[in-house]
């Protein structure tokens, strides 16, 4: 027996339509279409029980306004970027990659994903994305939070990879993992995964509302890549004396340029 669908209220119809049209159209065009539909849906003469019958399904209505070629192009880009974020989250959680390239250490893999993500997203959004109104305060707040987390994580890793700290623990308590290292591990594992999710949110918001939300994607993907780099590095090294004395300088000589590239990308996304 077919399930009887409950008719949509005017508010529900407009909400569904807005969601569908924002995903398919550039921000300014979608705002215009939503305003038009608001006027059409909320006409006093409009019978709510016949909304779908008269106007069509909300998703179908949005589809009719879609430039199919441009939409397919966006879906391809989104699939590549979302897959990159999935890899970053997976690597943060698992701490290893299920594939291996002999010509590079595994800790570079998150950086490759970041590089591809930054290049592809900046190209696409600078070309096809749209600014929409003044800079959102929520975006600024989100950027500050991610930046503070990234800077805090870097600072904590600077402290943990300091040779005097490592020496003192490895020599005095070789079998105990110090709380500082446990905190560092939790920061980079959870931070890496959360930043991948934040980057996904930034990507979706950049498509639906304002291309400057891409700054959140670029910053969060950079922090996720930095976390991935550190996780792979920690899993790969053996804390011998030689490593202890050079780990901090080796790590930060690479992390600082990666972070700087991410910050430049964030600035470009905001312009």
């Amino acid at each position: 027996m077919m399930k009887q669908q409950r008719p949509l209220t005017k508010e529900q119809y407009l909400k569904k339509f807005s969601r569908a049209v924002r995903w398919r159209l550039p921000p300014q065009e979608s705002e215009e279409a939503i305003a038009d539909y608001r006027e059409l849906v909320f006409q006093p003469e409009r019978d709510e029980s016949k909304l779908v019958e008269e106007l069509g399904e909300p998703v179908q209505a949005a589809h009719l306004l879609t430039d199919v070629k441009a939409y397919r192009r966006w879906l391809k880009i989104f699939a590549v970027l979302a897959f990159g974020l999935f890899l970053l989250a997976k690597w943060a959680w698992m701490g290893h990659s299920s594939f291996y390239f002999s010509f590079a250490d595994q800790w570079w893999y998150p950086v490759w994903v970041m590089a591809v993500g930054l290049a592809l997203s900046l190209y696409w959004f600078r070309r096809y994305g749209q600014k929409n109104g003044p800079l959102s305060k929520r975006l600024v707040l989100a950027l500050v939070v991610v930046l503070a987390f990234g800077a805090g994580t870097m600072a904590w890793n600077w402290y943990v990879f300091d040779s005097s700290f490592l020496d003192s623990y490895v020599e005095r308590y070789p079998l105990i993992i110090p709380w500082q290292v446990i905190l560092q591990r939790e920061l980079i594992i959870n931070g890496g995964m959360i930043c991948a999710l934040i980057a996904l949110a930034g990507l979706i918001l950049a498509k639906c509302y304002d291309r400057r939300w891409l700054a959140l994607y670029t910053l969060a993907v950079t922090v996720a890549a930095v976390c991935g780099f550190i996780i792979f590095f920690c899993r790969s090294i053996d804390i011998g004396y030689a490593v202890r004395s050079s780990a901090q300088s080796y790590l930060f000589a690479r992390l600082i340029p990666i972070g700087a590239a991410g910050l430049i990308g964030t600035g470009v996304a905001l312009c």
Binding site: D36, E39, L40, R46, G56, Q60, A61, L64
Partner: protein
């Protein structure tokens, strides 16, 4: 002429009679073409705007919030004339086969 072209012709003809807001445009067309949903007609109306055949402005609407009024442009008028000719030719061609 496809159904889409007929709808476009009717849209332009309707707007040539005076400026109209969205609901005023969609309702008579849906009544004339009952198997066509308003979303499809709206998509066509939007397409006409993008091609420069119509333009719009906001104006107070019957005590409620401002409404978006559509108006035909000079390019739209020219296109309407062209489509009317096409329609007459097609109607004559069909009539020549004895179709009433």
């Amino acid at each position: 002429m496809l159904k889409k072209d007929l709808l476009e012709l009717c849209l332009l003809q309707l707007l040539s009679q005076g400026d109209k807001y969205g609901y005023e445009v969609l309702t008579p067309l849906r009544a004339a073409f009952p198997d066509t949903q308003e979303s499809a007609i709206y998509a066509l109306l939007r397409g006409l705007g993008k091609s420069g055949l119509t333009s719009w402005y906001m104006a107070p609407g019957g005590g409620g919030p401002d409404r978006k009024y559509y108006r035909i442009t000079s390019a739209g008028q020219a296109r309407l004339e062209e489509m009317r000719d096409q329609w007459r030719n097609m109607r004559d061609a069909i009539a020549s086969f004895g179709v009433e």
